[in-house]
Subunit: 503 residues, 2 copies
Amino acid sequence: MAKQRTAITPTREENFPEWYQAVVKGADMAENSPTRGCMIIKPWGYALWEKMQKILDTKFKETGHENAYFPLLIPLSFMAKEAEHVDGFAKECAVVTHHRLEGDGKGGLKPAGKLEEPYIIRPTSEMIIGDAMAKWIQSYRDLPIKLNQWANVMRWEMRTRLFLRTSEFLWQEGHTVHSTATEAKEETDTMLGVYKWFMEEYLATPVFDGEKTPEETFPGAEHTYTVEALMQSKKALQNGTSHYMGQNFAKGCGIEFTNKDGDLEHAYTTSWGVSTRMIGGLIMTHSDDDGLVLPPKIAPKHVVILPFLGKDTDDDVLDACHKLKNKIEKLQFNGEKIEVVIDASEKNAGQKSWDWVRKGIPLRIMIGPKDLEKNSFVLTRRDKPANEKQFLDMETGTGNFPDILEEMQKNILEKAMKFRDENITEVSSIDEFKNIFDLKKDDPGFVVCYADSELNEEREELLKELKATARCIPFAFNENNEEKTCIFSGKKTSTKIIYARAY
Amino acid sequence: MAKQRTAITPTREENFPEWYQAVVKGADMAENSPTRGCMIIKPWGYALWEKMQKILDTKFKETGHENAYFPLLIPLSFMAKEAEHVDGFAKECAVVTHHRLEGDGKGGLKPAGKLEEPYIIRPTSEMIIGDAMAKWIQSYRDLPIKLNQWANVMRWEMRTRLFLRTSEFLWQEGHTVHSTATEAKEETDTMLGVYKWFMEEYLATPVFDGEKTPEETFPGAEHTYTVEALMQSKKALQNGTSHYMGQNFAKGCGIEFTNKDGDLEHAYTTSWGVSTRMIGGLIMTHSDDDGLVLPPKIAPKHVVILPFLGKDTDDDVLDACHKLKNKIEKLQFNGEKIEVVIDASEKNAGQKSWDWVRKGIPLRIMIGPKDLEKNSFVLTRRDKPANEKQFLDMETGTGNFPDILEEMQKNILEKAMKFRDENITEVSSIDEFKNIFDLKKDDPGFVVCYADSELNEEREELLKELKATARCIPFAFNENNEEKTCIFSGKKTSTKIIYARAY
């Protein structure tokens, strides 16, 4: 049988990393920039980020958070306030050392105006926000403070990949301060829950929520919680994290308050974040060999109308397109207007249609002079073969669009869930573990085993060799306290850990 | 007569710059940070920015623009592509020269990993966006491209003032590319119109739109258009600009396209922007000696409910507050839900009420046990004396809130318009000009005169001495072509220029 032609070359099976780059390019979402390791997010990619922002921002506000904005540049001395924190970021900091340019005498420019104290571009804002919180907080009456910031951050990465790992990326970082450990822990849980809800409900991406093992915990945090997704490459992706800092950062930044008994106490802090990395995860979870697949609830546009323009009938066809657009935009999907775009660009019809397939738009409508005669239009769906057409009546054919979109959302989640669940393997010995992570084989998906979370050198060495990492101690697999043997140490443990190769 | 006590000290009359700082502080909008010249935008200030963003962003999209995101860091060599442009920014660039930190041997940290080519933090993104556009554009079919970016930018300022002039600020920058000069000029006009509409309709701030004189034109632009507002200090504030670049930037960046005749041509570009500076302008236009005054259409919240809590009646009072909140939030103002906040914090009632006066919230509602007995509440308005109370029925008293807010919006604009118009003086000789700008007198507001726009050294010297600047050639005063004498050169001219001292 002849190989089916696909809109994306290579296919996932042929070369997953190259397929990924081709999907991003084919959907016109982002590209590399002349600035090392930094990307340009193009309108289709940015619209996706805006939609993610809108949904999350609404939820953050509903859960009692306010937005604020803190400086991009952090004085170098601030970085040293929390030892683990600085270790975590020192190797990847962009450093500002000068504040103007002057001629270099060779017709070019050179840095001038050396700063007394250098600044680093924020890799995260814990320290500068902590410094402000320390000034704002005196009494338990000032607590809790629950802030969020939407911002760009910079971590100088050596190997970068669009959306997944770039030196500059966009994210949100929540930072909260509480008067009790209990309340701060609840906050950490709540926000992890918000992420899980968002990923499953909107991104149609099933995630395991759980705690990170000590070696994967955020520098300076007491506990880091994560939501871990499985990509079609069978590699894992950390899609968001929520950190309980205990009093560590409060001590580093001097966040103290007078409690109800009149005693001075260090506060309890949390932080939590998701980034443009989620876009990379979304692509690798759902897209196929024809390009991007968007769950309708996160799609910036739901429907594209493609007029087939003849010579004499252009105006009639365009009129019909606009009428249909208005009709569809009166419909609601997931509590919002269905978003429709008309693409009347000069490209030929086939090329245009494929462009929109690659962009992952859920529904494509084609209207030409002949359709107009029959008062009908042609509908194709992103979740069906590109040549599977439905001929629908212009008056009544759009009525069930909300149901179709709902169904697509559901199917996309179910498909991802099925894939994820089929790629979880439970192993009960170190040999099985070594065998499944054999570097000569494909990546194994999620590998679950009994394992205590005390990492020793031997286990660290083994994991490094197998290119495996502990993704998390998933809540779902740690509901009972049955004790078994840790496959690494041989000690008794009730802890199950998910391992995987990861992005 | 005893002096009325005010919530802000000093008053505008006593010391306008200090009053400004006190208003920002009193409303808890922003504060200085440990990073030189950079501010922390606190939730109340940031909520205002978010509201501005939302309204403008919707309008940008309605006028055919898409959002995108370009790198924060610009390679140094890019700055040199357009000579005037680099001159305009070289003296205030933050320069990144290293990409990691290492121990300095004295327990501290120092920059390490020197970059081969330094980067500057964007003072504006013309050059990096231009470079991308050059790659994207081949044919007239690729045009126009109409992009906008919401971003942080950095210009290393020596003297800074919260919102008005800070080293880092938040803004939007529109960048568009067109195939004809006519279309690009139309774009420049359209966006200037959007700004004027936004400032008058939402910020209740009357502005003069007009062209900048050559010396005030953006580095590298052919024409710069501006919207100029008058502050209560009688100083001017440039509230937004729209630039027609002609082919200058296209030449610098190599943006060429094949036109319909098959010839290669440089494209025509525009850029336009407004920033968090508008918040400073909003404060100085409307606020009074009791603090911030917010036009209701831009207020993040419209109504605060302040429960007077007794001992036994707390629950009843709070219940009544929540019922009232729900009732009011069903009302629409300017096409959106009226936003209500309940402040049940532990502060005493008087302090709480004054806090919200200083925050500029349009309407304050007080409810205590006694009001509850009478099934009524107390209403005070930000545009009336703080002690002018209305006692209103709990069931019917909120019905006209939309009308009250509409009326407040109108009154605030009219008041600002009246002040602005009362502070425009037309002068017809250089002596009058010198006299009105006498440094021993108060700032004179807007000073209009016939003046050609060819700046010579003598006029430049005079303006510098008087601390006056040409604000713009306002459209409103340049509608007829009557020729008179330029007060500076003595030559015939039909041009009228507005001069003022400015922020």
